[in-house]
Symmetry: C2
Subunit: 335 residues, 2 copies
DNA sequence: TTGAAAGCGCTAACAG
DNA sequence: CTGTTAGCGCTTTCAA
């Protein structure tokens, strides 16, 4: 079976089978209205010639690529990869391929990727970038099919899925308070993210509601979500004269960095300082001590985002709603 | 500026500018042989109408999608995500988008993704799947442009990039031996991966070369590379009457799981049992104790793979070689 | 320097 | 049930 250099076209199959291209097309697309005998004849030619449809041509006709774009700020972050898995599974289930793009939360790069949508190389997009960069896409939201995942601004008319970050952060802080802490620090991330702003609001309000003191020095802002960033922030925070006895980090990666800082400082966790994270990524259960955290349903978040997008694709008119998923506290040994 | 529902085509621009579609095409592609006046006229119409080229149509003509496929066994594995970053950066530099696909190391899924190549929806592919599943693609290697990364079989005629797993594993074991260990265990992964088989060979030969005893019970095979798998394997290994005093895990994630197991067993690391991993993912420096490991140049691995593919795309005839990159030992506190 | 026209491989009316 | 035919939006000779 010589692998032909010239890819065989639908016309070649039609000729070989002694039918018209239309019939071949019908068979390839599983449309009915084709006599079994004819179908078999076509199928035989297909295998005989090793025919494979050129999707490019089909897409041009149908104006659909069956490709879904997923834009994430950082593919390396385990939080995002779990979400991506969720997206991928429902996309594949519906015959779509997903194209994963790492934007680095950069507006320019995101816009470049978004061009894939504008130029019909992708049918729809799921955006996990900061809501501040999402705003740039908001104008086109009515004409271009995209949905927001995790990050979203309810004010812009785009379907979204996420969690109630304000309440979740409050839950984390209230948990710390219940454990007897009064000096609670916050390691927060890039304020371009709405989740960061919301969680900070949750932290602040929970502290106030409990009548606890709020020290600006107990709040550290970091730019990236990697372990080192969390470590440095924690080190910084503990270097102060009156340091917190508990730390709430808005991401597990940051919290794990904080754990590492405590080790370096010879502070026992949770006896001397308690730590709680956010997300519940796989490694949170493996750290020392195992990390308490606010779990987000990552997989489901991704699946839901994909479903919302598919809905929007199926019916561009349908006004699809935003949806909030439940979080929950997982207490392990770090708090 | 009303966002038109009907996407404007090249014909619309031509009409608006009072030129032919051919001229518009020339301008869009930056070909010369167009009078500046004409060019400006066209450009003006382009912005006036908000024209964006339909790449689908262009691709059909040029038979190129500017899309590169990257097939990884598990997007959630931090080792792979760093490689993906490398691939992405050089691809983008050359005007390609990369489409990241999670195959789960499943032959069926990989084949489905590979269809994107066969049906012209992607120009080339980079495969990180087990060499055993790569074999299925080997027949088409001469006609379909793809390269292997990390996993590769030198026997099949496909460009590849990776490290010398045999020697690297030997280095890890020799390091443990130098630290005075004689009872060394191996946590190895799925034997469908050539790297797993090579590292095992490296382990075995290094042990033999040092005249050390080899106990089959000191070898644990796991199916997945997640933390839990490493933990269970380590637990299993330590449950034996004569347990190892050192463990070499073929992946950092596995090694981190082993660290977690030692904690549960109240074994001090490295005093009672030493642990060394492989890869040097970001979190390896943050564990307790910080993990010794064999570092792979992950980023460079990805960049090189992309470059090899680009080379193959530019000149399908050129016989591009396989390349091996250097690894190195990083000793931290777990050994 | 520009335009006319022929496809790229496929789908979808519309006929028969 | 099957075939004819007209495009999808673009690139690319070939002529003018």
């Amino acid at each position: 079976m010589p692998s032909k250099n010239t890819p065989v076209s639908i016309a070649a199959v039609a000729m070989h089978a002694g039918v018209s291209v239309a019939t071949v097309s019908r068979v390839m697309n599983g449309l009915d209205g084709v006599r079994p005998v004819t179908r078999d004849k076509v199928l035989a030619s297909v295998t005989a010639l090793g025919y494979r449809m050129n999707h490019l041509a089909r897409n041009l006709r149908t104006a659909a690529s069956r490709l879904l774009l997923t834009m994430v700020p950082d593919v390396g972050n385990p939080f995002y990869s779990e979400i991506v898995r969720g997206i991928d599974s429902v996309a594949r289930e519906h015959g779509y391929f997903v194209m994963l793009c790492d934007t680095g939360a950069d507006e320019g790069r995101e816009s470049a990727y978004f061009d894939l949508l504008r130029t019909h190389r992708a049918d729809g997009a799921i955006c996990l970038d900061p809501d501040t960069v999402q705003h740039a896409l908001a104008n086109e939201s009515n004409v271009l099919p995209w949905v927001a995942c995790c990050e979203f601004d309810p004010a812009i008319a785009v379907p979204y899925v996420g969690v109630d970050n304000y309440r979740a952060a409050g839950d984390a802080v209230r948990h710390l308070i219940e454990r007897g802490h009064t000096r609670i620090g916050l390691i927060n991330s890039d304020q371009r993210y709405r989740y960061a702003r919301e969680r900070q609001r949750g932290y602040l309000d929970a502290m106030r509601a409990a009548g606890l003191p709020i020290h600006p020095e107990w709040r550290q802002l970091v730019e990236s979500l990697d372990y080192d960033a969390g470590k440095h922030a924690a080190l910084q925070m503990m270097a102060q004269p009156e340091a917190p006895s508990a730390i709430f980090a808005v991401s597990d990666t940051l919290a794990i960095g904080a754990l590492s800082a405590m080790r370096q400082l010879n502070k026992r966790v949770p006896e001397e300082v308690a730590v709680i994270g956010f997300d519940d990524i796989a490694i949170a259960a493996q750290t020392w001590p195992p990390l308490s955290t606010i779990a987000q349903p990552m997989r489901l978040l991704g699946e839901t985002a994909a479903k919302l997008l598919l809905l929007r694709l199926a019916d561009p008119e349908a006004k699809v709603q935003g949806v909030l998923l439940d979080h929950h506290l997982i207490q392990r040994e770090s708090s």
